[in-house]
């Protein structure tokens, strides 16, 4: 008992361990302006290109995270740090040092440690003198690197016949914005209590081998200025709650499921009781999958996507293609490996059934009671976003873009988020009148009968790549397989629906060979659109953009039925189930 109390004393202190600091925006922008002016006019190397654009960004983050398992805190951390990033462009808008991938530099970094000054951690309580000095060193490092990259880019083009004459960077009007706001205080005691309660749900499920419930709250302040005269100050924050559980079926098949809830303000998460109930449902679903019979054949036929699966399927395989991407020039035939390029040259073409349309709505704050993660007031370039119609009546109209133009998208629609163009809030609408779940199931059965299938498949949950890559894989890498390819997904809740209407939980099918064409087979949609927040994998790799690996986004879509879909049996040599019984089993 003594030990327990001592720990609590220590943990309580954690919640208050991050010092609140008073940072003067005036000092920060003053230092940025002075050093920027000096650098634009004086920073030169004879014989090399001159600076034409500089941008400074100071981000101050105060992340808090808490992880619990079976009623106990596993880790808790409160941090505060600031990151200064400087971007210098040399040449001109038409041709500059960007859109060039220096293989050596990107893979191995510079052997000169001064290069790291252009993007490094600085104090979270900077004053004018301090920041000015940091900016001096960072601008110097960024300029030297950009000037060298420009020359390397020219050299790489020496032996090439260049067809793409798209400018490297788009001009933009100068503007000033202030989106400061009060950052809500996180009630750490409340969330400790809540997460302990939620994680305790699993004590009653001895067939579940491992479970965690965690929360993170990340407030961020940004100070931005560029040499075109744009500057802004913004505050943003987001909260994410995640419950993840895994087990192994008796035949060794790894099983897992999750529940996530996101909001901006922690107080706008769903009510505690609802999250607790969702955790319970997750435990019940996973237990049911554990007891379910594994499917014994591959499946090719109609699939009904319910629950989170219509959103996940679209988020993983369709939406990334709606981001404008530009393949960087590189040396030695190296490719930056851009993925999701299917729509880069397809504007005007048919990409979905004619009854479906898609729009990006970055200004939409809420959908019903759900705060949307893809909402933002200003993008990384300092541009104010507006709605973008992406697909109208099945035909592709536009792509989401930043100030880096592509052959087909020559205008930014203010979607630079966390380093590069990225999804915001996506709304899928149908001009067909949607139908109820029962009607969707009836249609599924009808198609099964036409195709002489004994049963159809309902996918109710699909594993989210962020949950997989972070929580699930971290909690026990041996329990769950890698999501083995970019064209496949792992359903976490599967149901067989027989032609007589009988439903039976099953397991052991993987979605395979999914691509943008798969969505043309949507034949019917549900009557209710649901908002789904998620952390989406950056479409333009963070490795290339220098930004984040995962970015908050949202999708609002109705459930839908795909007429024809391929799923294959999950057949591997699974590791055996644990030899000794789960210790919680003896308590029951």
């Amino acid at each position: 008992m003594k030990t327990y109390c001592i720990l609590i004393i220590w943990l309580l202190s954690l919640g208050f361990s991050v010092k609140a600091s008073v940072v003067s925006g005036e000092s920060i922008f003053g230092a940025m302006k002075d050093e920027m002016n000096r650098s634009i006019s004086e920073l030169k190397i004879d014989g090399l290109q001159n600076v034409y654009f500089i941008e400074y960004k100071l981000e101050i983050l105060s992340p808090y995270s808490l992880e619990t398992s079976l009623g106990s805190i596993v880790s808790e951390s409160a941090n505060k740090y600031a990151r200064l990033s400087v971007n210098v462009r040399v040449g001109d808008y038409k041709f500059d040092n960007s859109n060039f991938f220096d293989v050596g530099l990107n893979f191995f970094g510079s052997s000169d440690d001064e290069q790291r000054f252009k993007n490094r951690l600085v104090s979270f309580e900077p004053d004018y003198d301090y920041l000015r000095r940091e900016l001096w060193l960072a601008t110097d490092a960024a300029f030297k690197q950009s000037a060298e990259l420009y020359s390397k880019k020219i050299a790489a083009l020496k032996n090439k016949i260049r067809r793409d004459t798209t400018p490297d960077f788009l001009t933009a009007e100068a503007s000033e914005h202030n989106f400061t706001k009060d950052v809500p205080k996180l009630d750490t005691a409340k969330f400790r209590k809540l997460l302990k309660k939620i994680s305790s749900v699993f004590v009653k499920y001895p067939v579940i081998n491992s479970s965690v419930a965690l929360i993170e709250f990340i407030p961020k302040s940004v100070y931005y200025m560029n040499s075109e005269g744009t500057s802004f100050r913004s505050d943003s924050y987001y909260t994410g709650l995640e419950v993840v559980a895994t087990t192994k079926a008796k035949d060794g098949m790894p099983l897992g499921d999750f529940y996530t809830a996101f909001s901006k303000d922690p107080e706008n998460l769903p009510p505690s009781g609802q999250m607790y109930t969702q955790a319970k449902r997750l435990a019940q679903r996973l237990s049911a999958s554990y007891h379910a019979q594994a499917i014994e054949d591959d499946y090719n036929g109609p699939v009904l996507f319910l629950g989170n699966s219509p959103s996940e399927l679209m988020a993983q395989f369709f939406l990334p293609n709606l981001v404008a991407q530009r393949e960087a020039i590189s040396e030695g035939g190296f490719s930056t490996g851009n993925n999701s390029l299917a729509f880069q040259r397809k504007i005007g073409g048919k990409v979905l059934p004619e009854f479906l349309s898609i729009a990006a709505l970055p200004n939409m704050k809420k959908f019903r009671n759900t705060e949307l993660l893809g909402n933002y007031e200003i993008d990384d370039d300092g541009l104010i976003p507006d709605s973008v119609s992406l697909v109208e009546g099945g035909y592709l109209k536009n792509l989401l873009s930043s100030r880096v133009p592509t052959k087909k998208v020559m205008k930014s629609n203010a979607h630079k988020r966390e380093g590069a163009a990225m999804i915001s809030n996506i709304k899928v609408t149908s001009n067909q009148s949607g139908v109820s779940r029962d009607s969707l199931k009836k249609k599924l059965i009808e198609i099964c009968k036409e195709r002489l299938l004994d049963y159809g498949i309902i996918v109710e949950r699909i594993m989210n790549p962020n949950v997989f890559a972070t929580t699930l894989y971290k909690s026990n890498p041996t329990l769950f397989p890698f999501m083995d390819s970019k064209s496949s997904f792992t359903p976490t809740r599967l149901t067989k629906i027989y032609t007589d209407g009988k439903e039976e939980v099953t397991r052991g099918l993987i979605g395979k060979n999914v691509n943008v064409r798969s969505f043309r087979d949507i034949v019917l949609t549900g009557d209710e659109a649901v908002a789904y927040n998620y952390l989406g994998r950056a479409v333009i790799s963070s490795f290339v953009s220098g930004g984040s690996q995962f970015v908050g986004a949202a999708i609002i879509t109705p459930e839908y039925l795909l007429e024809d879909f391929e799923m294959i049996m999950y057949e591997k040599d699974f590791t055996k189930t644990p030899v000794v019984k789960n210790p919680i089993s003896k308590l029951k």
Partner: protein, 568 residues
């Protein structure tokens, strides 16, 4: 004077005395170990030994730069390490597999455990981790068996796990400090701001790292232990750059088991003043050219030198590895060093001549009582540092099985102490250096004053060389010219040749407290030695940054902000 008084206000140590006969967490570990051990007993290859080592780390890290806090975090975590053995003491799943260029997954694998003593939460994680470990053990045991069958007879037929007495000791009181972080932030800011007046110092940080580890150990043989390890480290790091691009780092480091015993801010502040002066001189100093000849290593430098050149070669487990150079395997009772030198490793020592030693620990990470090891007596080699992995003629551990949490324990160094019975004053040592230079027709000898650390290679596939990285080196001229500060060199060599060249030792003592990194992670160690005169050392040029100095002069930070305007 009032160092202690000041510090007492800063830190309140909460001393909680736990029951010395029982410990809730140890009981949970013990029960779950027994449950798993018994549960696996009926398997075709049951474990014959399981050890659970749990490290609870309470830490505070504060970094300050330019008079501002860069980072200030505290953390608490618990990491469980499992040592599970299938087979027998003589041959088990950890047996070395020969002919493989890489052993997958052999070294890492700690598991984060819940921070509260809630049995369900803790035992479920332990259970799953034990099962994973067991499955890995079965697989590796089969591989080891077939490897033994297809390869030639091993040179060293020692067992895989030593048989040791069981120990039960949970008497040590647990310290759980509460620290006034904001006071420390202020102090560090006071120190780091000193660098701001020197724009040619391109990066400078002052950091405080406090770590309070409570270690728990239970073994299926009945061992049950709980002990603590504390460390407070204050580091001052600063880096400048010479005109020719060379990066020039310098540091000061201070170690104590408890932060209240660290030097006062005034004391450190004066050290920083000296460090700034040295950095300034280093920027102007010439680059040393490659050189072979006599040199003096200061006590600290000599400690690091011995740690690299000697210490890593007496870590016992390496003698079993056919890829290791096994330099001293057949050298027991043979002369390897001059007869005036003895070397001991003493993890029981908390301090030496008033210097606290970071290589202290009461038990090693395999649950063995730490023991003093006399490794060299009057130049003759006597003993290796032993973990529970026996080698020929060394069948038991001497309490040097160490690891960072999350790694597999192997034999590692503790407090290395070089003792000599032939000392001269430092002035006499200098005279001897000059005399030796003259004998060798050298214009100058070298004095290695401050070193950053070093590294060495012990395998057979690459040359068995060492590298000590000096930061402050002087030329000592034979013609009486003043000493000249030089830069840009590393001290290199091979061990056996260098051992013979130690000529004399000073009457001083240098103590290097640091973290040694090797296959079992970073472990705190110390290296203590008097200054040494070496007749032949070799230096090579350091890697050099190719980046130019900043193109623009530093901004003139004289203008204060007001409400109206910001001027430069």
């Amino acid at each position: 004077m009032n160092k202690k008084m000041i510090i007492l206000c800063l830190l309140v140590l909460s001393l909680f005395s736990l029951d010395s006969k029982s410990d809730e967490l140890l009981d949970i570990l013990s029960d779950e170990l027994k449950r798993n051990f018994d549960g696996l007993a009926s398997e075709p290859l049951p474990p014959y030994y399981i050890g659970y080592g749990l490290t609870e780390v309470q830490s505070v890290n504060i970094i300050s730069t330019g008079g501002k806090t860069l980072r200030s975090v505290d953390a608490l975590n618990r990491v469980l390490d499992i040592d599970l053995r299938g087979g027998s003491y003589d041959f088990d799943n950890t047996h070395i597999i020969r002919g493989q260029s890489f052993n997958f997954g052999s070294a890492r694998g700690g598991v984060n455990l819940p921070l509260e003593n809630i049995k369900d939460a803790i035992t479920q994680k332990i259970w799953l981790a034990t099962d994973n470990k067991y499955k890995g053990a079965i697989q590796r045991y089969e591989k080891a068996l077939s490897n033994k069958a297809v390869k030639i007879k091993e040179d060293d037929l020692s067992a895989d796990l030593s048989r040791e007495k069981t120990v039960v000791d949970i008497s040590e009181e647990i310290l759980r400090p509460s620290i006034d972080k904001s006071k420390w932030e202020e102090k560090l800011n006071q120190l780091s701001v000193k660098f701001s007046a020197h724009p040619w110092i391109f990066s400078a940080q002052v950091s405080l790292s406090l770590e309070y580890k409570t270690k728990y150990f239970v073994g299926s043989d009945g061992t049950k232990l709980r002990w603590t390890q504390a460390a407070a480290r204050l580091m001052v790091n600063a880096k400048t750059k010479a005109e020719d691009g060379m990066s020039l780092p310098l540091y000061n480091s201070y170690f104590s088991f408890h932060p209240e015993n660290l030097p006062s801010i005034d004391y450190i502040s004066k050290d920083i003043d000296r460090l700034i002066v040295t950095l300034s001189k280093l920027r102007q100093s010439p680059i040393a050219q490659t050189y072979s000849g006599p040199a003096i290593l200061s006590g600290e430098a000599a400690g690091v030198f011995f740690h690299e050149i000697f210490g890593h070669r007496v870590e016992g487990h390496r003698e079993k590895d056919p890829n290791s150079s096994q330099m001293f395997k057949k050298m027991v009772d043979k002369e390897i060093l001059p007869d005036f030198i003895s070397v001991v490793f003493d993890p029981n020592k908390k301090e030496l001549q008033g210097n606290e030693l970071s290589g202290y620990y009461p038990y090693d990470d395999e649950g063995i009582k730490s023991q003093k090891v006399v490794s060299v007596v009057s130049g003759k080699f006597k003993s290796f540092l032993m973990s529970r992995s026996p080698i020929e003629n060394f069948p038991v551990s001497n309490g040097h099985g160490r690891r960072q949490q999350g790694r597999k324990a192997v034999s590692r160094q503790s407090n290395l102490i070089v003792e000599t019975n032939k000392t001269v004053t430092i002035a006499e040592l200098r005279d001897k250096l000059i005399e030796e230079c003259k004998n060798q027709n050298k214009e100058y000898g070298l004095l290695f004053d401050v070193v950053q650390g070093g590294f060495t290679f012990t395998s057979r596939t690459i040359p068995n060389a060492f590298n000590v990285m000096p930061l402050v080196v002087y030329k000592v001229f034979t013609d009486g010219r003043p000493d000249e500060l030089v830069r840009g060199v590393d001290l290199i060599g091979t061990p056996l040749a260098t051992f013979k060249n130690i000529m004399a030792s000073g009457d001083d003592l240098g103590v290097f407290n640091g973290i040694c990194g090797a296959e079992s992670g970073g472990v705190p160690v110390s290296a203590c030695s008097p200054s040494l005169l070496i007749s032949h050392i070799e230096i090579q040029k350091k890697r050099k940054s190719q980046a130019k100095l900043p193109l623009l002069p530093p901004p003139q930070n004289k203008i204060k902000i007001n409400d109206d305007k910001i001027k430069n």
